[in-house]
Amino acid sequence: MASIGKTLTEKILSRATGKGKLEPGEILGVKVDLVMIHDLTGAPTVKLLGELGVEKVWNPERVVVVLDHQSPPASISAAENQKLLREFVEKQRIKNFYDIGTGICHQVVVEEGYACSGMIIVGADSHTVTYGALGAFSTGMGHTDVAAILATGETWMMIPETMKIVVKGETPRHLTSKDIILHIIGSLGADSALYKSIEFTGEAIKQMSISSRMTITNMSVEMGAKAGLVEPDEKTYQFLNGKARFQVERVKADGNADYSEVYEFKIDGLEPQVALPHTVDNVKPVSEVEGVEVNQAFLGSCTNGRFEDLKAAYQIIKGRKIKRGVRFIVSPASRKVYLKSLKAGIIGGLLNAGATITNPGCTACIGGHIGLLAPGEIAISSSNRNFKGRMGSPEAKVYLASPLTVAASAVKGEITDPRRYLK
């Protein structure tokens, strides 16, 4: 019998565990290459380190701290947490510190070249899976696990099964990677990848920009996945060239790798997709939701707050006005995204149309300090979660869609197929 090959996930974990052959389900110690914490999860992590009596983190070069979730702080307790983290990075001599206004942690980690192909990355945030777009095995954990990693540089992991998702066909004009991932989540369900690692492949994925791939891997956690990866290719290496802070591994899945499941999606003719309240897998084509009146439209988040997203939305906003009564909140994912959009005339154009531009950060997505919803209100959002109460009142409703659909809905004042405004 021919020997069974390794998935991309197994290749990376095999190096990190020092074990040649891996069995899904076995629990192994893993060396971690990079740890990320932010203001909401970082403060309790640091307090636990104190409780453990740890004086020094295992390697300050491998720790990234970003203040993004409630920044600038909207409460004294948030301000205290941020103060604690500033003191922590000074004391620990952690150079990789990004204060408020730099951007969303996941955007910053990628932009600044911390996430490289082949690495094992753990973040105290569920959307840490985003870095899989660059071929890293990255996953979220809680603050106790992360404190233990900060102390020792190691953690335990259960070797996941690998699920393969192949996206085939010609991408229809104006269909975004957000529509594709919403369609996948809607078809497979919110618990379809529990504990599993997903590898996304196929022509449509290969043709996508790194930004678009990040949208896909970012939302793999909405299916319960432990990680979501795209095999690195020339596009990846080009993206990392001159940016990578660590070694870039040219890692690939074996042709005869063993996947627990393989799903194929054909996207020819797919229409823009929308996730209805209150679960991410409650997905319908936009034509079935058109006409729902919205009070707020949010463009931003680690899912869709990049330059590509703002540029796409501006295609629709340009020369139009935001509907009276609609708050259109735009949060660039990072200062770099903000500056680039500013230079391209996008920020000015959005402001003229009536948008509210916020500082870079998580803002309305987390429902903590900016743009909360009142009872009975409806939002359309380019973010990743529409859970009850996520963006404010539990009696509010959140619909998730692409930056294009969000922009079209902001103009019309109701959920709208963006193709109505595009040639």
Binding site: T41, G123, S126, M141, D191, L194, F387, K388, R390, P394
Partner: protein, 168 residues
């Protein structure tokens, strides 16, 4: 290690945003956090949980954000253990790490009614519905997981197992 409480039923795909909304995450005191547990979907939860309850859930319990404040809020509200058909992986780890037993039981929803008296023997891997005189044998916990739970969480476990020198 044994735990017991009255069954309190919740549904499937319960996410961490409804367990503890994002705006409360800067609260440090777990007892303060606990006051807001399940606030968006379960008015009166904290009142009910106070005497000690075992949550009985469907699939994918604890999905969404990695916030460890979610299991912390439940534990300090009076939740003694959670039985679910499946758990989201970060929530599962987080619960063990803070010393809250989480147990996977197929058809959990069908086998318990609200208020049923539940007893769990973690050493033997037995869940008992005393009210219905039903007994379920589950896969015994991994020895390390059991010890972490017995120690009340990963931090206490580490204090015991890892030499200080290794940590510094």
């Amino acid at each position: 290690m044994k735990v017991k409480g009255k069954a309190l039923k919740v549904g499937s795909n319960i996410d961490t945003d409804v367990i503890i909304p994002g705006r409360y995450l800067t609260i440090e005191n777990p007892l303060e956090l606990a006051k807001h547990a399940f606030e968006p979907i379960y008015p009166g939860f904290t009142e009910k949980a106070r005497k000690g309850v075992v949550l009985v859930a469907g699939g994918n319990f604890g999905c969404g954000s990695s916030r460890e404040q979610a299991p912390l809020a439940l534990k300090h509200a009076g939740v003694k253990a959670i039985i679910a058909e499946s758990f989201a992986r970060i929530f599962f780890r987080n619960s063990i790490n803070i010393g809250l037993p989480v147990l996977v039981l197929k058809d959990s929803q069908r086998n318990f009614d609200e208020g049923d008296h539940v007893e769990i023997d973690l050493d033997k891997g037995i869940i008992e519905n005393i009210a219905k005189k039903k007994r379920f044998q589950i896969k015994p916990l991994h020895p390390m997981v059991k010890e972490i739970l017995e120690q009340g969480g990963l931090i206490n476990y580490l204090k015991r197992h890892v030499k200080r020198a290794d940590l510094k």
